[in-house]
């Protein structure tokens, strides 16, 4: 169902792990399926110098979160959080059915909410 690229990242995420000295900790639980993912963000001014995650979830939410963390490093946090949801889904490596959109969008929505609540 999923490509090797997806499965490899699911089994071997590169940004998994707790961060001790973070600037933001975003605790976003997906309400419909029991996924629970926490994002840790380290900032250098407005720029994300590191982002990691921990938790559990389905293949899509895990892979999306791990890629999100990796791809956000070095970027401005406002720019990362401001990304359009439609574009985010479009850029995801595999196509997603409507019922699974919230899995893929989990990290982006978490960051958007984290910024709002900060």
């Amino acid at each position: 169902m999923y490509t090797d690229e997806i499965m490899d990242r699911y089994e071997n995420p590169v940004k998994y792990g707790r961060m001790d000295k973070y600037d933001m900790k975003i605790d976003q639980a997906s309400t419909t399926c029991g996924d629970k993912i926490i994002l840790y963000v380290k900032l250098d001014g407005n720029r994300i110098s590191d982002m990691t995650w921990e938790g559990e979830g389905c293949i899509l939410s895990v892979v999306s979160t791990d890629m999100f963390c990796e791809n956000s490093i070095g970027k401005e946090i406002g720019e990362v959080a401001g990304e359009d949801e439609g574009k985010y889904v479009e850029d995801f490596p595999i196509s997603i059915s409507a019922g699974r959109l919230s899995c893929v969008l989990l990290p982006l929505r978490a960051l958007k909410r984290g910024i709002k609540e900060k």
């Binding site: 169902m1 999923y2 499965m7 089994e11 998994y16 419909t32 399926c33 029991g34 996924d35 629970k36 926490i38 921990e54 938790g55 559990e56 979830g57 389905c58 293949i59 899509l60 895990v62 059915s97 699974r100 899995c103």
Partner: protein
């Protein structure tokens, strides 16, 4: 009974996706509708529609007859009296009606006894009353998903005023001994409520002296969405407070006083869902033409076949009783991924292991046109008891056949491999 012919009555099941037949295994969530039900609804709007109970012209009479005739059909189907059938939106609304209308009979310190395998719709209406100082208690179940009757007896104390139990679990498939439970509840002078959302559609069902109330939904038994049923013993309905207030449910209204209608209209404020009632009546006709014994036997055959098939798969686990006599046609399952993934968050009651997420299983099966549900199935306390976050779930009904079970098992075999 030619089961494959029944499938032809369901237009949606003739739909092809990617050129192939669809295997609909989510009837526990909602059922598909036969042509006969669709036609009945169209006929209602083309030939009968008018507001009910208030128009004196011919069409109004016909609409009222259609609506009240549907009520009689529902009553006959479960062995009740017509005036004991209240039309609601669904099981959830039936149970909420009870929570509100029985609230006045409860006082601080009273207990409500339910089980750990309830759907949220038989938990949250009662949890609402905890703020009044009413205690909600749960009866547990064993490793096989059978209700712990010793626990039930222990918890059925004198202060238990309401016992509300699901007849068949929408996850485990467990068929609970509601008659036995009801008998004990009545001996304890408790009000006894049966959540029959998963039983009335799937097996012969008759009300009896122990059941004070029974709730079920039309859309889970081939009828349309938005029509549900609350059966209540007439004496109870007569004494109870109304739920919603407004049109239709009154005999007389003055500036500061009101005389309510008799049951069941007392509980049906506003213009009712007549098309829903008419569609439900057509669904009942359809089920009766098959025979509820046959429905139950058919589901047992398919469930046994599916359980046997799953047993031969290496990494698939399923929940609930092993004996098909003790369960309905619903199978909740998970697939072990065999991956050594350590990603544990400290979460109470949730064991993090190497199961595939149920959504991933459902998406995988979707690739084979096999439609199963995934998640916690609106029964989170149940999932927590099992120590999991969710399951995939396959369920069967009259339009499923052995070909569907084979397609399901074949697709499932594709995920049953350790990478």
């Amino acid at each position: 009974m030619t089961w494959s012919r029944i499938r032809e009555d369901f237009p949606i099941l003739n739909k092809k996706v990617n050129g192939k037949r669809i295997v609909y295994l989510d009837s526990t969530a909602t059922t598909q509708k036969p042509r006969q039900v669709i036609d009945a609804i169209v006929n209602y709007y083309e030939n009968v529609n008018a507001n009910v109970h208030r128009s004196v012209y011919r069409l109004g009479d016909e609409a009222t007859e259609a609506y009240e005739g549907s009520r009689k059909k529902v009553a006959d189907f479960i062995g009740a009296r017509t005036e004991e059938i209240v039309f609601t939106r669904n099981t959830t609304e039936s149970l909420n009606l009870l929570s509100y209308s029985l609230e006045g009979t409860l006082k601080q310190g009273d207990k409500i006894l339910i089980t750990s395998m309830e759907h949220h719709s038989n938990i949250l209406p009662w949890m609402r009353l905890e703020r009044k100082g009413i205690k909600l208690e749960y009866v547990g179940f064993d490793d096989e998903g059978l209700l712990d009757m010793e626990d039930f007896k222990r918890k059925l104390t004198k202060d238990v005023k309401i016992v509300s139990v699901t007849h068949e679990s929408n996850v485990l498939g467990t068929i609970n001994p509601v008659e036995e439970i009801g008998k004990m509840a009545k001996e304890n002078s408790s009000i006894f409520i049966v959540d029959a959302a998963q039983s009335v559609p799937h097996m012969p069902f008759r009300v009896n002296e122990y059941y004070d109330f029974v709730a079920f939904s039309g859309h889970k038994m081939l009828g349309p969405m938005g029509i549900g049923v609350l059966y209540g013993k007439y004496d109870f309905l007569d004494r109870m407070e109304p739920f919603n207030r407004g049109g239709e449910m009154i005999k007389d209204v003055d500036f500061h006083s009101v005389v309510f209608e008799d049951p069941p209209l007392k509980f049906e404020a506003g213009t009712p869902n007549v098309e829903g009632a008419v569609g439900l009546a057509a669904a009942i006709d359809y089920l009766k033409s098959i025979g509820m014994e046959n429905v139950r036997a058919h589901e047992k055959t398919l469930t046994s076949m599916a359980m046997k098939g799953i047993d031969s798969l290496k990494n698939v686990i399923y929940y609930g009783p092993r004996d098909p006599e003790k369960r309905g046609g619903v199978i909740a399952f998970n697939v072990n991924s065999g991956m050594k993934i350590k990603r544990s968050l400290e979460r109470e009651n949730v064991r993090v292991d190497s199961l595939y997420h149920s959504h991933d299983i459902a998406t995988f099966l979707d690739g084979y046109n096999v439609y199963v549900r995934s998640g916690h199935h609106c029964a989170e306390p149940l999932a927590r008891t099992l120590g999991i976050t969710g399951t995939a779930r396959a369920s069967f009904y009259v339009y499923n056949d052995e070909e569907d079970v084979r397609a399901f098992l074949e697709a499932l075999g594709g995920i049953d491999v350790h990478r």
